[in-house]
């Protein structure tokens, strides 16, 4: 490689099953560094876990290696998944292979950059509020956020459990779908995974790769005005052109309205921060992780360990989450955010009574320049306007390259009904043609 994009925190090999057959046999996989790999350090992009070596592998890693894929490294990421640019990593930012002056998106920026730069065939990311789809859009590759409960989270270091799913990133829709075929399915180690045979209306034996057939004849596409308003004009034009192309091939578009999504970013951040403040309480320097040299008592030692081990964005979210859950503010922030979440879910359910998929820009902006948003957290949060509603509603979504604007990649997002992965994959595969 002539350019070092800093896509990997650790380059290490976990051999896949050499006898396996199938689309992933021999594939090189980059695994986001918050997904546990036995014997290979798993840092979450944090000083806190710089030397942490998991004694077991995540279910998704075992499934990939059993399918013949070889892990080639642990991909860079925003610290604990908290960011939209991969600049909050303690291991330095990743550069966007499409334009090395710009961020690759986040938080799975290393995963998307590894695929875009040809350093991996497939990558795993995790998507809590857009962290697979955003970097896929910014780097010009494909990313899938599965329905909550489709893919096991066993071995994923938790940030916001109720929102996150592991999802694949690849150069084409079919390759990403083939990786989803391998990692999807119930896992006794994760009680939130669902057996599709028990899910009403779901295809109990899906074949995601086969769904990438490009056939959109008769597909009803909903176009929500709220997810286009406020987006960069160049992004809107590129996405609208891609949708018009699908219309020419037999898809029907309808303008729809999702009024609740105006509150999605606020609700998402309140819920995610609240869950983060609880999840990250485990990092106290006793059982694992970095421990500060401290002469203080239990509480002082923890506070120093956490001062030293966490970066600014992680501290910000832990503190805001603690605040939002504290006495006097719980009803104002957390309960209202849960109301908003239920409203968003209801809005999507109503919309899917009339349309098969919902299309929008994945990101309302073009990739930021490196350093541009780092000191302005709110500005970074607002970039998640189109991706966070999907996590709040537990739905499947995909980001597929729609074209370029000013030489930079633009992603088109399709959202589907629960366990409707095949529909979003089919729609996205038509955009590629």
């Amino acid at each position: 490689m002539s350019t070092d994009y800093n896509a990997f925190i650790t380059e290490a090999t976990i051999e896949g099953d050499a006898d396996a057959e199938g689309p992933l046999a021999g594939a090189r996989v980059a695994v986001k560094d918050n997904i546990s790999t036995a014997g290979v350090r798993t840092t979450c992009g944090s000083e806190m876990l710089a030397d942490y070596v998991p004694p077991y592998s995540a279910t998704v890693v075992d499934r990939l290696t059993e399918a013949g894929a070889t892990v080639v490294g642990k991909a860079n990421m925003d610290e604990f998944g908290m960011g939209t640019t991969t600049e909050t990593s303690a291991f330095g930012p990743t550069k966007n292979p499409a334009d090395p002056e710009r961020v690759p998106g986040g938080s799975s920026g290393g995963s998307a950059a590894a695929v875009a730069a040809g350093e991996a065939d497939v990558a795993l990311g995790s998507d809590t509020g857009g962290s697979v789809r955003c970097p896929a859009a910014f780097c010009g590759v494909v990313g899938i956020k599965p329905t909550y409960g489709l893919v096991s989270r066993y071995g994923l270091v938790a940030y916001a459990n109720s929102l996150e799913q592991i999802g694949p990133i690849a150069g084409t829709v079919e390759e990403a779908a083939a990786a989803l075929d391998v990692i999807a399915g119930p896992d006794p180690h994760d009680g939130t995974t669902r057996d599709l045979a028990d899910v009403e209306g779901a295809d109990s034996d899906p074949n995601y790769a086969a769904a990438a057939d490009g056939d959109v004849d008769g597909l009803a596409i909903g176009v929500p005005t709220e997810l286009f308003e406020g987006a960069d004009e160049r992004v809107v034009e590129t996405v609208e052109a891609a949708i018009a192309d699908l219309e020419a091939r037999g898809a029907e578009t309808t303008e729809i309205s999702l009024p609740s999504v105006e509150h999605a970013v606020q609700a998402y951040y309140v819920i995610a921060m609240a869950e983060a403040s609880s999840n990250l309480a485990r990092f106290d320097g006793v059982r694992y992780g970095d421990r500060a040299d401290s002469d203080g008592n239990w509480n002082e030692s923890f506070a120093e360990t956490r001062e030293q081990g966490f970066g600014a964005e992680v501290k910000r979210r832990i503190l805001l989450g603690t605040y939002a859950l504290s006495a006097g503010y719980h009803d104002k922030y957390y309960q209202k955010a849960q109301d908003a979440r239920a409203w968003v879910r209801q809005d999507f359910e109503d919309a899917f009574a009339d349309v098969d998929v919902i299309a929008s820009p994945t990101m309302p902006v073009l990739p930021f320049e490196l350093g541009e948003s780092l000191d302005d957290p709110l500005r970074m949060y607002l970039a998640d306007a189109n991706t966070t509603p999907v996590n709040l509603a537990n739905l499947p979504a995909i980001s597929v390259p729609a074209g370029e604007a000013d030489g930079l990649p633009v992603g088109l997002q399709f959202v589907g009904p629960k366990f409707g992965e095949e529909t979003v994959i089919r729609a996205a595969s038509a955009v590629e043609e």
Binding site: P55, A281, V286, G289, R291, A303, L319, A324, S326, L378
Partner: protein
């Protein structure tokens, strides 16, 4: 579930009279975040901050919390989650060995984790 809000309208009501309990304070439009509040939350969360961080967070939190204010416009919504219990027989299975469980600890003794002194 009952709505605990006492106000019938929202903005426009007089906002002085900062006395009262936290619930009343929460109802007023602007959330005051000062450096002491940031320090208090950091203390609750067991995260030590230096003075520069406190200053930066005070400004950023004010801006972010003001943005979160828009949640007040969200209507109370029926939350009928399709939650089902997931049960399995409680069977003995292999877990981590003691050695594996201790392998990432900063300090161990006789097969135990060693933590900081309690007081």
């Amino acid at each position: 579930m009952s709505d605990t809000s006492e106000s019938t309208g929202d903005a426009g009501a007089a906002e002085d009279g900062g006395e009262g309990d936290s619930a009343a304070a929460v109802d007023s439009a602007a959330v005051a975040v000062d450096a002491d509040a940031v320090r208090h939350v950091a203390d609750l969360a067991r995260v030590r901050l230096d003075d520069d961080e406190v200053d930066a967070f005070t400004d950023q939190f004010a801006e972010i919390l003001e943005y979160f204010e828009a949640l007040d416009e969200v209507p109370e919504t029926e939350r009928d989650e399709e939650l089902v219990n997931v049960m399995r027989p409680d069977e003995v299975r292999d877990g981590l060995s003691q050695e594996e469980a201790l392998s990432n600890a900063a300090e161990t003794e006789d097969g135990f984790f060693v933590g900081p002194k309690v007081s």
